[in-house]
Amino acid sequence: MKELIDKVKDNKICLSYLGLFNDDITTRLIAISEYYLENKTDLGKLKNKVSLLIAECFQNIIRHSGMKDQQGTLTENPDFFQLSILEDRVVLSSCNLIQNEHIDALNEKMMLVNSLSSEELKQLYQEVLTNGSFSEKGGASLGLIEMARKSGLPIKYAFQESSGTQSRFFLSLEVSTSKERISAGLDILYHVNFYLDLRDHKVIMLYKGDLSKDIIVSLINMLQNNFIDDRKPSSKEKRFMVSLIEVLQNISKHGKTIRGSKEGMFCISMLKGDYIIDSGNYIEEAKREALESTLTEIRSMSDEDIGRLYKERLLDNVITEDGNCGLGLLEIAKNSGNNFRYAINQTPEKEWFYSIKIKI
């Protein structure tokens, strides 16, 4: 996880998501973006623009996702969306497959919208809206024009061939508080390479940023959408979800708040049929020793001892005021067959950072 997180270390929030896309996931992502922009940044006025752009990006991905199922390339080329919130701007990136025969037309549309001024974009938008069809200038769909208008910055894009008939279409949009129509962001190749890194590491979700209660609820719901809803989940999928919920709720309750934010990160990947949860967060120095001794104790226990201690704790009737019950790590140990690793290290800023990697 560290090498991936290092690549997004300047992001206040970075959420990368690879997998199934539907309207409910759009809603969750918009909720995360709006909550964070409004409560944790000075970019609150970008909130509505960003929400609209997320919706446009998702519609674009959802529109194209049907063909993948038929061709069985979902795991090789998962759809991708990334929300990055930086100090002064928001960057949205996406990737989906398109048929090679559509590349030329799409390329023309992209070049057209990128060449127009905001006034010209407005005119084109109205023209397409009133005519109900494409303009004489080469034709750009409403969604694309809307993306260019709302972003106010050139849309970055790239095509990368994935097979003889299909290519990956990468798109990156920026929204900034600056009025200038100059893109300050990273080159599209950065997004292409980051996507390929995530895909090669079999990542389903990578998150870096605030892990306070409201954001966690939205993240869990996004993952439930991907794994659980609309079908019967396997026991393994349930063990994964339960463990992830314990990890995230633990961060939300015990993570250290630094500069008004419960900074943390997690990465979910799937390797050879196993789910890997990799998470990290800051902890209070006062809690370090107790946490370390609990982790060491559990890690040294046999499955039988873990089961015995779990049952003992289940009956102790202790639930703290904030809903904590002291069973989370034991549940993780049970679900993973005690297959987890952890570390508690001091950062150069003298903060304590706790990380745990769980295989289920």
Binding site: K213, V217, I220, N221, Q224, I228, K232, P233, S235, K238, R239, M241, V242, I245, E246, Q249, S252, Y310, K311, L314, L315, N317, V318, I319, E321, D322, G323, N324, C325, L327, G328, L330, E331, N335
Partner: protein
């Protein structure tokens, strides 16, 4: 007693408390941020019920999955309803799950072993 229905959400189960029939059911997922807040109304309802319980009380669980704090709340609910035994009334607990859902079966077996109630697992 008037029936209390708490609708299901993405994080919490559907709860149907029918005190006049003595049947109480929980279905779905449960991982509220704070179990005390979410289950407060349920506990209050059941505390009132056990003062004048029906001859047979039936508690039904159909879980998709739940967090550890909910596990302790399930124990609390079962312990509370078990007090009907003191007045010569009976409590039956039905745990519904799929036969291939080893997680929920394991959880059911744990509660059955620990709580020693009339606890039966029903496969769907």
């Amino acid at each position: 007693m008037q029936t209390l229905v708490i609708p299901q959400t993405n994080e919490t189960p559907e709860i149907v408390l029918d005190g006049s029939e003595g049947t109480f059911s929980f279905a779905g997922k449960s991982f509220p941020e704070n179990v005390n807040d979410f289950y407060n109304d349920t506990l209050k309802y059941l505390e009132a019920y056990v003062l004048q319980p029906r001859d047979v009380t039936t508690l039904e669980f159909s879980w998709l999955y739940f967090n550890t704090a909910t596990s302790k709340m399930i124990v609390r609910i079962i312990m509370l309803l078990k007090t009907v035994n003191k007045s010569g009334k009976s409590l039956r607990i039905k745990w519904f799950c799929s036969p291939d859902d080893d997680l929920i079966i394991e959880k059911g077996n744990e509660f059955a072993e620990l709580l020693g109630a009339d606890f039966s697992i029903h496969y769907l």
